[in-house]
């Protein structure tokens, strides 16, 4: 890491890595609708609520311990923070720049306690486990070694990609981290003394029945993929939980382990059957979405946001569901259409995601 970067404050570091991650993602096709067309309905109300709750928790005994339990996972916390910052600026009664900076820094402190590496993934790692925990986990796993099992490996990756499809159909593109996190790469040593990189893709919430009651019949609540890569693999994970690597992953994979509902899947047939089951559910989700009006999709998007913060509200004895005020705005305001250019540029977003400025996208 460059010396200059070491002395940057955390907000500048955060904005810098967000810019890099946006650039690597490139132009996207927001599905089913752009987050920018949803955020105005809820972000000010949500931000005021979460800010007030954080303030109250910060005065309690062991506040960071409480918060670690309330945030779903580090990746989703980072993802939700962007809209929260914009919401803090629009909140009423107003929240000053000083208070916004306090809020963001407090969240960073909580992330520091939840993660074992750089919270902004500046070194290309997203580490949640200690070195010893990762090594212990690697030792415990009954790995499928990929020397002569490339087809099995392909099927396992396909099952993982199918799970990602389900995640998108449940939480949409904006906040897919609500249901999964990729962490690693962890440097581990194998039983034959060879070194490897361990990456864990944890799809920890693929059956959100509170959000989608129809998921009640879906048989899996979680799926986890663990992969060991050749230590020379150029492999990085960014702040958006995107894996960026040079070369293809399959050929650099040494070992794999896939489990559904904590039970291992070790055959090509098993992995293919799981993919089929997942994709059938994805199709059902898509069919359901096709029948929904745009207003209903906006509502569902907002529900997913409130679902992600549900533990905050449940902790205070409140209903997790979006408040009436937010839902009524959909009727009152109608559908917010974005400019044909598809939303703000990174330069505009950078100012918007900076809690020190007053910039709110779309408000000139």
């Amino acid at each position: 890491m460059a010396t200059k970067e070491l002395f940057m404050n955390r907000i500048d570091q955060y904005l810098k890595v967000l810019g890099q991650a946006f650039e690597k993602t490139g132009e996207i096709a927001p599905w089913p609708i752009h987050v920018g067309a949803v955020a105005p309905y809820f972000s000010d109300v949500e931000a005021r609520d979460i800010y007030d709750k954080l303030k109250m928790i910060s005065k309690q005994d062991q506040p960071k311990k409480i918060l670690r339990k309330l945030v779903v996972a580090p990746a989703v916390t980072k993802a939700l923070l962007m809209d929260l910052i914009v919401g803090l600026k629009a909140a009423r009664p107003p929240i000053s720049a000083r208070e916004r900076v306090w809020f963001v820094e407090y969240i960073f402190d909580v992330l520091e306690e939840m993660m074992t590496g750089d919270i902004f993934c500046r070194d290309g790692t997203n580490l949640l486990l200690t070195k010893n925990e990762a090594q212990k986990l690697s030792n415990q796993i009954s790995w499928i070694w990929l020397n002569s099992e490339k087809e099995l490996g392909r099927s396992i990756y396909k099952a993982s990609a199918s799970t990602k499809s389900l995640i998108w159909s449940l939480y949409f593109y904006g906040w897919d981290d609500i249901g999964y996190e990729i962490h690693g790469p962890y440097k581990v040593q194998l039983a034959n003394n060879k070194k490897a990189l361990l990456v864990i893709t944890d799809y920890f919430d693929i059956k959100p029945t509170l959000l989608w009651p129809s998921m009640i019949t879906f048989p899996h609540h979680s799926i986890r993929l663990m992969a060991l890569y050749d230590p020379k693999t150029d492999l990085k994970i960014d702040i958006f939980c995107h894996m960026v690597n040079k070369g293809d992953l399959l050929n650099n994979t040494v070992g794999l382990y896939l489990e559904a509902n904590d039970l291992p899947i070790r055959t090509k047939e098993g992995a293919e059957a799981l993919s089929k089951e997942l994709l059938e559910r994805v199709m059902k989700q898509h069919k359901a979405l096709e029948t929904m009006k745009k207003e209903e999709i906006i509502k569902k998007y907002i529900e997913s946001r409130y679902y992600a913060f549900r533990r905050w509200r449940i902790y205070f004895g409140e209903d997790w569901y979006p408040p009436k005020k937010v839902l009524e705005r959909i009727k009152k305001w109608g559908i917010i259409e974005l400019k044909e250019t598809g939303g703000p540029t990174w330069e505009e977003l950078k100012k918007a995601f900076d809690p020190r400025t007053e910039v709110i996208p779309g408000k000139d």
């Binding site: 690597k24 490139g26 096709a29 396909k158 199918s162 499809s165 998108w168 593109y173 894996m243 293809d248």
Partner: protein, 108 residues
Amino acid sequence: MKVLVKGISASIGKARGKARIIQPGRGQKLKPGEILVARITDASMFVDIIGNARAIITDIGGQSSHPAIVSRELGIPCVVATNKATKVIKTGMEIIVDGDKGVVYESD
């Protein structure tokens, strides 16, 4: 060989096959071994489409976009951010994808 489009190399390797333009939400199928050409793939585009692809080419996206990540996992070449692949390439066209260089050629 005639260069059809250039973009960002998102997954290495070379592949030759028939192109198929896929548009989301149209229930199109990809035959095994065909090359998927789309504006972008995303997780809403079923993996059984992507799973059959010999290579992926997209108009937009970057190195950490959905097609890039999936193609590296599946070990197939991928070129993203070509700007115009879905306009230049036609379904049924025999093409060569050079994932190392990020170039797509018309096959001789």
